[in-house]
Amino acid sequence: MGIRLKILAGFVILATMLLIAGLISIHELMNIGNYVQKLLDDNYKSIEATGTMLEALEREDSGILLLLMGNWEDGRKVIKEGDDLFKKGFLSAESNLTIPNEDKYVEKVSLDYDIYMKTWERPIVGTDKEGNFDWYYNKSHLAFLQVKKSVKQLMEINQETMYKTGSELKNRAQRAVMPGIVAIIGAVVFTALFSFFINHYFIRPLVQLTKGIEEYNSTGKELTIASETSDEMGRLINSIKNLLHRLTYK
């Protein structure tokens, strides 16, 4: 291989190392962007939906207490608002199933909510349920706690997945940064190696050759440099040695 190709190979390798590191970093950074979006789309939306459902449930529970106290108008109004809010949250959670088995958790919420709904769908004011706190604690409140528990479970699996995605983001960030660090260290080591080879195979022989020719001019002593390679430098050394040899014995 000629000198030109050798030097070119050195620069090509250096450039390749940096280029690939750059490409991988860009790819990983784009992935980070996707992951952040995924984090927001998949998990944050579901967590927000479960939060809405929990708030709605609390309102409905307050509405039931108002009905228990005989306040029909305010009670129905608060329950209606709570029910609308719950359905809004539920629809959001139902349309955002991204975790394995999440559909089962959503289904459980739906079933428990149906049971809970039955406790306040029928009239309370003006019936034997009015002022009946035993009924409230043994029926309505238990159903309320059950549906709340199911919503919390849905929230927890989304939080867990969000944490995992967050940890994955940390890894992705490392994967984006590390190729750059490796490329920088690699480039420094490679440059040192490259300059060592340039010095050993090109500069040192040139210096020795120059000294040898100067010595020949002043003392007539023949060149004693050995050529290690068969490239242009090796051929140059051999040619000059032959030339000086011929000049000596002319």
């Binding site: 050798k6 190979a9 190392m17 590191a21 991988i24 940390k170 994967r175 490796v182 490679f190 068969s230």
Partner: protein, 479 residues
Amino acid sequence: MRIHVISRYVGLVLLFNAIFLFLSFLVSVFNSDAAVYPLLYSFLITLLFGIFPLIFVPKTDFISKEEGFFIVILAWLIICFFGILPFILWGGEFTFTNAWFESVSGYTTTGSSILTNIEVLPKGLLFWRSATHFIGGVGIIVFAMVVLPNLGHARFVLLRSELSPLAGSNFKFQTRKVLHILLYVYGGLTLAETIFLHIFGMSLFDALLHSFATIATGGFSTRNLSIAYYNSPAIETVIIIFMILSGMHFGLLFATITGLSFNIFKSSVVKYYVFAMMAGIIMVAANLYIKGFYSLPDSIRFSAFQVISLGTSTGFANADSANWTGFARMILIFFTLQCACAGSTSGGIKVDRIIIFIKSIKNQVLMLRHPRGVFTIKIDNNLIEDEIIRNALVFIVLYVLIVFLSALVLASFGVDSTTAISASAATMGNVGPGFGEVSSMANFSTIPDAGKWLLTANMLLGRLEIYGFISLFMLKTWR
């Protein structure tokens, strides 16, 4: 010392590593896992660094003994550094120190791990982790030599630098043949074990990776519970057989397979190796049974696996020996120090040196009775030279001293004494697990970072048989 020539040979070793990185990359692509880019980039960097010296440095047939030594030691250190690339690029539990620990542990076939959860690693990375065992098993240099044509004297020098000094004298073949023997035996055993493990229920992937670890006497498993995960006496039996075989001199194994007269059945070293392990198994099993740990069959099953695993410096586990009795653990520590035969992939003091040590004691006693007597040491009718005897004895003393000193330093980092001593002995002998916090079912994640660096130095010292590593720091005396 010709640095450019050394760089060429180290480059060749890096190219050999690049092949395995590429295979790991393919595994990753096939499984569409998260290690694709880390492995691809590691492969390219290793490839570029491996190719570059070949472009500049012309081929040379002659390398001096010093250069040979330097190539071997430098190659070990450099591949360990390149081996960390997939780990640090992937992230997870791999900080720089952890990646270095895992890489050195893999190449030196130690099998100690810092991972608290191995099963979350992508398959490509698991393959690479086990491939480091495979590469390190016979030795990078030996592999590189096999694939390099026409190296002549250079090949001889590198081989002698790589092989254990004791093993070299046991190979009664030409250099070229020694290389082929190593490759045939190594490859053959790996293939055979993979087939058997697969037949007995392991997935092909797990079977291959466990075979890499067994034949290299490494110990990296793809499961957090190591071999205990499979809970299969059949799989354990297969691994036991291949661990015993991998702990024997490869030349003798080759001689046995090819029907030569001097084989494993006639070697007194092998006889001692097998006898010592049998005795160890019986003592541990009896102790565990009497103390009520397990039923008799289970006592035999667990003690056989654990004694052979540590006695061959493999480090697999089918039970948590950390809770066993002090007596059982002391026997296991003895095997952690002794390990298997020279000429195998095993680490530790090695059976050959223990035999020399025992015979030297016997001679010393005889000398007391007959002060003017001349006593020699013979193994299999071969007279052992005084220099080899002296080296073996100094080696044992130095070995135990280093184990003790590194345990002392570990203890100064706040590590408890059981963990410190066993971790030090297990890494020095390239065994893998110790006791305490680093027991067979635990890992080295709790060891402080400085301790991890110390233990990796132990692994390299053990792998390069102390003298090789020390020689690196005595370059001036070579001139």
